[in-house]
Subunit: 136 residues, 2 copies
DNA sequence: CTGTATCCTTAGGGATACTG
DNA sequence: CAGTATCCCTAAGGATACAG
């Protein structure tokens, strides 16, 4: 199942892999929020429905962005983890986060940003490195 | 016309403004490819249709990401330009470009990347600065 | 717990004709 | 040239029931 490419533009190529309504949020959950299990993605506040989640997990796996492994102890449990290609999206996720923080008028500038955002601002390289280490 | 927000996540917020099939490509055209006119967007190789383009231009304007001005000489000509908020997307566009270049298997690694990609790799800060100057 | 399988609705988008 | 206005269609997504 190859994806059709609208053009040779790298931005367009990227968008075709994770430029839909849900894929990047799942990647965010896996990479930034440490989520590993199906029910954890279901629990995200955006409220994805189960059929869509199953579909996106499969597509992301096909695209080589996530790996699915069985839990050793519990055969019924599956663990989702990011591939190296997905971890390469960290700078993109960071930029998108920073842009959102800066330009969302609903966010009260006086209120302190979440801890992980402070960390990614303070020392981005370290932030990325720590996450990479976690998934080694 | 306010946009509904699925969550308080900044990534989600960003995606709701330009996370569809076309918006970011239009922003790419305006910011990176120097396009200004309706017909130039129409000419992009992805082949957007005219009704969709009109719709996206309007939504991007509502979202405060582009400005529409009349051409002085020709009343019928309109010029589209990025706002400062849109120019703040430059790092994101760059990261997405780099990710796409790195992970698109169709791109022959032996073939040299386009000139503007070389520039954004070689000196990103300068690349961003030059574009910002252009739109001053 | 981790999904399938259905059913149904809607938004998004393509094609095309037309307009000042 | 820079769009509107329609029409139509499909893919995407929501709700829900159910299964191993």
């Amino acid at each position: 199942m190859k994806h059709k490419t609208r053009s040779s533009c790298p931005i367009c190529f990227s968008l075709e892999l994770f430029g839909d309504k849900w894929s990047l949020l799942i990647l965010r959950d896996i990479i930034l929020f440490d989520k590993k299990h199906y029910h954890e993605f279901m629990d995200s506040s955006e409220g994805i429905s189960t059929n869509i989640l199953a579909d996106r997990l499969q597509k992301l796996e096909c695209a080589g962005l996530i790996k699915k492994k069985q839990n050793e102890e519990n055969q019924k449990k599956f663990i989702y983890a990011p591939t190296d290609e997905a971890l390469d999206l960290l700078p993109l996720l960071i930029e998108m986060t920073l842009w959102g923080v800066k330009h969302n008028p609903e966010i009260d500038a006086s209120q302190a940003p979440p801890e992980f955002i402070k960390k990614m601002i303070k020392d981005r390289k370290r932030f990325i490195k720590n996450i990479r280490i976690k998934f080694k």
